[in-house]
């Protein structure tokens, strides 16, 4: 019963080996190299597809993002808003609670703010209205977050579908009220609310804050630091990590899993509510069904790319907003359409995510054949 040994060919040229001990600076070097490489690839594609000079395109993008003080402020505002939503989804994601309902939670927060401004703007004193705006928008966001958490904790419903569907409900509610409150009956547009009195507006005097973004940025900066410490050093942050890793271990350690799920989603929703409030009461002073503008979903990417570290999220949200603003500029200056910018953004993000592979693994070349004994 002799078996014929099958020829399996030569030893492969490359094989992959797991890294275990990459120094911190080296991993960042790989990430930076990935961004540079992606820009080179993008340049090739720009030349091939559009025939434009890639350096000009990049210059235009930079100009579009940070070309003037106004643009820098707008960029920072964009970063702050995206970051705020990313901060909101992070505790939920760390707990492995797939909250893809941030879009709806932000909208409901904005809705709460708009409602207070419209309904009480003429009847209550301004400080009271502002207080109401803050409280109601936080509560509205928290409510939208805690409903799916409640069902998850007690009946183990699927939070992904639940939070997703809550988005549609929120959009419909806002659509309905933009119709009810529309400035000219039936055109579904709410003009700037309390434009003359600024009641319910969250703002600093124009002498300090020329563009009206500073307060938003400060609030989000404080929230970022607070979230960093909350997740890393607090008891509740520890509980979130344990529940996320293993519910069994959490129960073993005496953690009340139901309570943690509900509490964390209250926080997640409340932060979304704050984002909605900053958008409506802080900058837009109006509301549309598109006020959240997809941030609820982009924020998930911001959070994951930063591996749930709030400080790194500053960088990842900056990257995404920078690309978005730059893209807008090249689409007008070069007459390229929006999707071209999306292609470039996609390539860059692909490289950044791909660089994680090279951080975790190294590729070894075949060594010289050893003489058989």
């Amino acid at each position: 019963m002799s078996t014929k040994v099958k020829e399996t060919g030569r030893e492969p040229l490359f094989h992959i080996v797991r890294r275990t001990d990459l120094p911190f600076w080296k991993s960042w070097l790989i990430r930076i190299a990935a961004v540079v490489a992606s820009l080179l690839i993008c340049a090739v594609i720009i030349v091939l597809v559009t025939g434009d000079n890639p350096i000009q395109i990049y210059a235009t993008m930079i100009k579009g993002a940070v070309g003037s003080p106004r643009r820098i402020w707008a960029l920072l505002q964009g970063v702050a808003m995206l970051l705020c939503v990313a901060l909101a989804v992070t505790p939920a994601f760390k707990m492995r609670f797939w909250n893809i309902g941030a879009e709806g939670q932000v909208l409901m927060g904005g809705m709460g703010a708009a409602a207070c401004m419209i309904l009480f703007g003429k009847t209550l004193p301004a400080p009271v209205v502002l207080l109401l705006v803050i409280v109601v928008s936080i509560l509205a966001g928290a409510l939208w977050g805690v409903i799916p958490a409640f069902f998850k904790a007690f009946w183990n419903t699927n939070e992904t579908l639940f939070t997703l569907m809550m988005n549609y409900i929120a959009i419909q509610i806002v659509s309905y009220f933009t119709y009810i409150w529309s400035s000219n009956k039936g055109n579904n547009v709410i003009n700037t609310i309390n434009a003359d009195t600024h009641v319910g507006w969250l703002e600093l005097p124009a002498s300090i804050d020329k563009y009206g973004y500073l307060l938003n940025i400060i609030i989000v900066a404080v929230l970022t630091v607070a979230m960093y410490f909350y997740l890393k050093y607090s008891k509740q942050g520890y509980e979130i990590s344990v529940v996320g890793e293993s519910e069994n271990t959490a129960k073993y350690a005496g953690i009340n899993v139901k309570k943690v799920i509900i509490r964390t989603m209250l926080i997640s929703g409340a932060l979304c509510g704050i984002a909605g409030m900053l958008l409506v009461s802080g900058t837009d002073h109006t509301i549309t069904p598109n006020t959240a503008a997809g941030r609820g979903f982009t924020a998930i990417m911001v959070s994951w790319l930063a591996k749930f570290n709030p400080l790194f999220m500053v960088l990842t949200s900056l990257l995404l907003v920078f690309m978005e603003k730059g893209a807008l500029e090249i689409s007008t200056v070069f007459g390229l359409n929006d999707s071209f910018a999306a292609i470039i953004t996609g390539i860059i993000i692909f490289f950044i995510i791909g660089s994680e592979f090279f951080i975790n693994y190294s590729i070894k070349k075949r060594q010289k054949e050893v003489e058989a004994k």
């Binding site: 019963m1 002799s2 078996t3 040994v5 099958k6 399996t8 060919g9 030569r10 030893e11 492969p12 094989h15 080996v17 797991r18 890294r19 275990t20 001990d21 410490f229 050093y233 607090s234 008891k235 509740q236 520890y238 509980e239 990590s241 344990v242 890793e245 293993s246 069994n248 271990t249 129960k251 073993y252 350690a253 005496g254 953690i255 009340n256 070894k364 060594q367 050893v370 058989a372 004994k373």
Partner: protein, 517 residues
């Protein structure tokens, strides 16, 4: 057939993970045709890594593999199959919702296998030939662990394996099932197949193998004829020094009632009685062993005491603090309530990484599982757990790059040291340990026995759920035997025999007779 050429020969195999961990270093060894070779080594000595290279899961960094004298390059499991090498892993790779036949058919080309009934026929033939017992139509989720393992072996044989690698096949089997497996292995050997068996149990090595190869810290130490080996000699080759193989059993001092369990009844998650009206006492200063076939209610018993498992009405678990006559009822309380009552209960669960520890966290953060509530109102105290982690790392010689390395990256023995170390550190009055030495090498096992004995001397009530009867009889003062969720007797560890305990584990009538006598 040329009998001189080994079935497999490995020459100078080296495999490293990263730059620090060398799993195998210059290993050269042979496997003959028609022999059973036992591969022996402590945890982390590189046995599984070496076998994974034969079965195509890893690729060696350097070195050569010869099958029947021809050099081969195994780059994926498919290559291994084509060379007739099949591995049965510790964790079965079966699809639960499919039948035995469908699982065998998975991954095969239909044109080579023919329809499922052909496969079913082939399975029956294989079973008849070697003495397996398996129903081709049975769904995998209905199978016992032993049946799943049989299916894995049949699957491998069906694919034409001549060389079978079994990674700790007996770790999950009862003594009877192990005997059955060994009978089958002997039949396969008689048929000319080569079998490599990885195991920690030395008495099994002596019972089944023809030769034993030993690895230590990734290096090949040597191969001996089983007929010339003893438990002592193998242990010394494995550990590299002389080892005391007697388990100590200090005399009981200051025995006092700690737990009084009365009429404890628990349901499992399907609503079936997992524990049925169990009553016994646990004393401080003694080690109480719990014996039983796996799934006889051991898990529910420990979890009920720990406050993780709901007990049915009429159940009672009374706790008596050391030196106090006051009793407190544990039934109906959850983990944190029991903790707040001041009951210093420690629990080393069976599922180490899925329950006792958080795999993604380092040692320091895992220490916090028990203590994170301490510290300020909002922020937790991180310094004490970090110090404790360093202390445990030093005292128990935990091998880890540092205390923030995720514990799931550590070897099984080190994971268990981290867990036991933490549970003991809280000065428990009751210490429960489930299968505390499962999968651990002999050195680590003795460290664990020693730690349990230390606790016993301190007056802790130690409850030890075990599967190895030799150890239970050597270590425990009393042994309570569970059989199908019922308590089938409590015997004295100093006088009980293995046969007596084994009989009580399987036969509920035996327990009744003993009670009457």
């Amino acid at each position: 057939m040329d009998n001189k050429t080994p079935a497999i020969s490995m020459r100078n195999i080296t495999k490293a993970f990263g730059s620090k961990v060398v799993a195998n270093k210059n290993v050269s060894m042979d496997i003959e045709r028609g022999e059973i070779l036992a591969l022996l080594g402590e945890n982390g000595s590189g046995k599984t890594t070496l076998m994974n290279m034969l079965s195509g899961i890893y690729r060696q960094d350097s070195g050569q593999i010869f099958v029947d004298g021809t050099e081969v390059h195994i780059t994926c499991p498919k290559d291994a199959y084509e060379l007739g090498i099949g591995m049965i892993h510790q964790h079965f790779k079966l699809v639960d919702v499919l039948t035995a036949t469908e699982n065998v058919a998975l991954g095969m080309q239909k044109k080579t296998t023919g329809p499922n009934r052909e496969i079913a026929k082939a399975i029956t033939e294989i079973c008849d030939k070697y003495g397996f017992d398996i129903d081709p139509k049975m769904k995998v989720y209905n199978m016992t662990v032993s049946q799943k393992q049989t299916l894995e072996i049949v699957k491998t044989l069906y694919r034409g394996a001549n060389i079978l690698i079994l990674d700790e096949p007996t770790a999950v089997l009862t003594p009877q099932e192990t005997e059955k497996l060994f009978a089958v292995l002997r039949n396969m050997k008689a048929d000319g197949k080569s079998i490599i068996i990885i195991t920690h149990k030395l008495n099994e090595v002596l019972a089944i193998s023809d030769r034993v190869s030993i690895l230590r810290k990734g290096e090949y130490i040597g191969t001996v004829q089983t007929s010339e080996a003893t438990v002592q000699s193998l242990t010394e080759m494995m550990v590299g020094q002389k080892v005391e193989l007697d388990i100590e059993r200090p005399d009981i001092e200051n025995k006092e009632l700690r737990l009084s369990i009365e009429n404890l009844t628990c349901l499992d998650r399907y609503g079936v009685k997992a524990l049925d009206d169990v009553s016994f006492d646990v004393y401080g200063g003694e080690i109480l062993g719990i014996a039983g076939i796996s799934g006889s209610g051991q898990k529910q018993l420990l979890e009920a005491i720990a406050g993780l498992q709901k007990a049915e009405s009429g159940s009672s678990i009374k706790y008596y603090a050391p030196g106090e006559k006051k009793e407190s009822q544990l039934v109906g309380k959850n983990v944190s309530e029991i903790k707040r009552m001041g009951v210093a209960l420690s629990f080393v669960p069976e599922d180490r990484l899925g329950m006792g520890l958080v795999g993604a966290m380092g040692m320091a953060d895992n220490m916090m599982l028990r203590s994170y509530q301490k510290g300020g109102v909002i922020f937790t105290d991180r310094k004490t757990p970090r110090n404790l982690a360093t202390k445990i790392k030093d005292d128990l010689e935990v091998v880890t790059p540092n205390i923030s390395t995720p514990v799931r990256k550590l070897s099984g023995g080190n994971v268990q040291k981290v867990l036991v170390g933490r549970e003991i550190a809280s000065d428990p009055t009751v210490l429960m340990a489930a299968y505390a030495v499962r999968g651990l090498d002999i050195n680590t096992s003795y460290t664990i026995y020693h730690l349990l004995n230390e606790q016993k001397k301190k007056g802790t009530a130690v409850i030890y759920v075990g599967e190895d009867l030799d150890v239970l009889i050597a270590l425990c003062d009393r042994i309570a035997i569970l059989c199908g969720g019922k308590l089938n007797g409590v015997v004295d560890g100093r006088t009980a025999t293995k046969e007596e305990v084994g009989l009580l584990m399987t036969n509920i009538e035996a327990g009744r007779k003993e009670a009457e006598a």
